[in-house]
């Protein structure tokens, strides 16, 4: 019962936020938190629940971003049309990458995903049709509402909120399905899970593909909001790292972990940048890094496990095992 009260409060706050703090920068900050929460929640499915730490998730992010901008820049369509295309490409790519690499264990899987992401970035950088190093631009002046190019951040905020709710619902549904139980068993001990008849390879692959599809959506939304994608901002390895850190900070393997992580790190980055960015080189990242070190040292299960971790052992599966 208490859980429902909390959920209602969080939902009410999320809906009211841009109306309470209504300056354009604050609204945009809110939209960015939700956007990164979507990406980190998508990563959470394979990184948190299945324990397969993918550092190459930016590949799927890039699929969505390039599909959205490509549908506008190459075919003159609304970037919205790129979303299904991005999902199809991302899921296909996930299958191609996942079949060989998900057999690798631990760090080797992470390394393989980095390699794939970097290869992809280099391929796109050298593909003229995808704008090469220059990137693709979206509509600057919207032709109609379907171009999703708004002056205010408010429409983005509620769009992202909707997508986040869907993402979290899918995650919640998955964890309570047969697949969720398989994943938790695999995460604890893949060998034991296999010996009990859990189809480990197939389950991991499904989780990977589901995660890829949702990451692709977040990439498409990102590109629509910024109206631009280039190899660095769409396929740069730092985006993967950022997504991963957000999930780990909030609590990997917990439903609301990525949301908490994003709600802390995104404002922190923007704010330390506006305070310190103009003064000296790199101070922003020093502050950013210090917070991460503190969390990693004192609360490796993620911030959310402060509250949920030692309450009950039932919902505790993720805490303490985060990367």
């Amino acid at each position: 019962m208490r859980r429902w009260i909390w959920l209602t409060v969080v939902a009410a706050l999320a809906i009211a936020y841009p109306l309470l703090l209504s300056s354009p920068f604050q609204q945009r900050l809110g939209a960015l938190v939700l956007l990164y929460a979507i990406a980190a929640s998508a990563w959470n499915i394979v990184g948190g629940y299945a324990g397969q730490v993918s550092v190459g998730h930016v590949v799927f992010f890039g699929c969505g971003a390039y599909a959205a901008m490509g549908s506008y820049a190459k075919f003159g369509l609304s970037p919205l049309f790129g979303i299904p295309g991005g999902i199809v490409i991302a899921v296909g790519l996930a299958a191609i990458i996942g079949v060989p690499t998900l057999r690798l264990s631990g760090h080797y899987f992470s390394m393989a995903t980095i390699a794939v992401a970097e290869t992809m970035r280099l391929i796109v950088t050298n593909t003229d049709w995808l704008g090469a190093a220059v990137g693709l631009s979206g509509p600057t002046v919207p032709r109609n509402v379907f171009d999703l190019s708004f002056l205010s951040s408010l429409p983005y905020y509620y769009l992202f909120l909707l997508v986040l709710v869907i993402t979290l619902f899918i995650t919640w549904w998955m964890t309570n399905s047969r697949m969720g139980f398989y994943l938790r068993a695999i995460k604890d001990s893949e060998r034991a899970a296999r010996s009990l008849g859990a189809p480990a390879s197939r389950t991991k692959l499904y989780a990977y593909m589901l995660s890829a599809a949702l990451t692709s959506v977040s990439g498409a939304l990102y590109a629509m909001m910024f109206g631009f994608v280039d190899p660095e901002s769409g396929l740069g390895i730092l985006i993967s790292v950022k997504i991963l850190i957000m999930a780990a900070l909030g609590g990997a393997g917990l439903l609301f972990g990525p949301l908490v992580g994003a709600a802390i790190l995104v404002p922190l980055e923007e704010i330390s940048n506006s305070w310190l960015g103009g003064k000296g080189a790199g101070l922003t990242f020093v502050v950013y890094g210090a917070i991460i070190v503190l969390i990693a040292r004192f609360q490796p299960g993620g911030l959310l496990s402060l509250f949920t971790g030692r309450k009950k052992s039932k919902s505790d599966t993720g805490a303490g095992h985060a990367p």
């Binding site: 920068f25 990137g135 631009s137 631009f228 280039d230 940048n273 960015g277 103009g278 004192f298 402060l306």
Partner: protein, 417 residues
């Protein structure tokens, strides 16, 4: 246990403070938002630009009668706004187009800047100027050269720097003059990295030569921040082009110079496209083995006592570095923007836009070697131009072309070391 809670509290505190809004602008101060790479791979550019803008602000806000015809130098502050001072609000773009865009929004909506200036990297100029366009705030760019920036139909975007098409034409004319003087310039090789800058500039130059009926003979691309360039140099050594045009950032330019020396290869003419070859650290590292390299620049220090020499001195005192083309173009752009605000007599964006459109500065009112500043409908400065400079006897570039601006005559062939 306690520390965990402290961490959580700190996070919460940081967030809540951040959500407060900034104070409103003072009437006697005109705020200009500046977006620069203050961290990331090009952070040194941001640091140099910051020093340059501090010098520029000093020149505008205080009386500097020694600077002659330079607008705004004579009196303190902006005369058109009752002596109001310029204040620069710098934001870090972190080398990231998304961050650049967020910062543009913050500068416009939170800091209420009158205009935005930036953002060095073409990709970031692209995204951040889109925000200024949506909000109807003038955006002045002084150093991004990607051609498409002024092809977007924007009404609030202005660019003072010469772009790839301008200097491609200069190279064609320069080489034609060298040919007339007896040099062999038939086979041209382009060497460039694979970034947006490298590929787009190489394409533009190749196009300009093709138009003149002299297609580029050899195109050598290499990955940026290369660790080994022997293959590329050996390829050049094998094909023996008459002219090599280098489009490289600093670290690659240095490696090329070293590799060419170790493989004992010298072309007859080595022509560099600014960037790495204008960086003071390039001259420090390999200037001695790159004697006779030609370079493009719009910056040339005049005789001592001239405005450009005084500004160069002020900049050197501030930053400890020699003035180079990039910071020069940034300062010039900033002066153009300040001049427009002064003439507008207001911080109203629409009035500044009108003033920018009416800008018509003559060469003697500029610190850079442009033929003037005048914007076309797309916001591009149509009078932007550059000179060819050469590294002669030692560590300083000297203007050698066109004849009208030349301090010395060009020396051929490339001497190297």
């Amino acid at each position: 246990m306690k520390l965990k809670h402290v961490t959580a509290l700190l996070c919460a505190a940081a967030m809540s403070i951040a959500l407060g809004t900034n104070a409103r602008a003072d009437d006697k101060v005109v705020k200009i938002g500046v977006i620069l790479p203050m961290s990331g791979g090009t952070a040194s550019i941001g640091a140099h630009a910051k020093a340059a803008l501090e010098v520029a602000t000093d020149i505008i806000n205080n009386a500097h009668p020694e600077l002659g015809n330079l607008p705004l130098a004579k009196n303190a502050g902006l005369a058109g706004l009752g002596g109001a001072k310029i204040e620069v609000v710098i934001a870090d773009n972190q080398g990231n187009p998304a961050t650049g865009q967020n910062q543009a929004l913050r500068l416009i909506t939170e800091d209420k800047v009158a205009a935005v200036f930036g953002a060095y990297q073409s990709g970031i100029t692209l995204t951040s100027s889109a925000i200024a366009e949506k909000y109807g705030i003038p955006y002045l760019n002084s150093e991004s050269v990607a051609a498409n920036l002024t092809e977007r139909g924007f009404k609030w975007f202005f660019r003072t720097t010469p772009i790839a098409t301008d200097f491609a034409k200069a190279y064609v004319d320069f080489l034609a003059d060298m040919k007339a003087a007896g040099a062999k310039t038939d086979a041209i090789a382009l060497v460039h990295d694979n970034t947006e800058y490298g590929t787009s500039v190489a394409n533009t130059i190749a196009g300009a030569f093709k138009e003149k009926g002299q297609p580029v003979a050899l195109d050598v691309a290499y990955p940026v921040n290369a660790t080994d360039l022997q293959g590329q140099v050996l390829q050049l050594k094998d094909k023996k082009p008459d002219v090599i045009i280098m489009i490289s950032y600093t670290s690659d330019a240095i490696l090329f110079a070293k590799t060419m020396q170790s493989l004992d290869y010298k072309p007859a003419i080595l022509l560099a496209d600014d960037a790495g070859y204008s960086d003071p650290s390039f001259i420090k590292a390999v200037g001695k083995i790159s004697q006779g390299v030609f370079n493009r620049s719009s910056w040339s220090v005049g005789p001592s006592g001239s405005p450009s020499a005084i500004i160069a001195d002020m900049y050197k005192k501030k930053s400890g570095e020699e003035m180079d083309d990039t910071v020069g173009r940034q300062m010039q752009g900033f002066f153009v923007l300040a001049d427009a605000i002064d003439r507008a007599g207001s911080t109203d964006p629409a009035k500044i836009q009108v003033a920018l459109k009416a800008t018509d500065l003559k060469p003697e009112q500029l610190m850079m070697g442009y033929k003037g500043v005048k914007f076309d409908d797309k916001g591009q400065n149509v009078l932007a131009s550059g000179l060819i400079i050469q590294l002669q006897d030692g560590e300083n570039y000297t203007a050698v072309w066109p004849k009208a601006n030349a301090v010395k005559a060009p020396v051929l062939p490339y001497k190297g070391w």
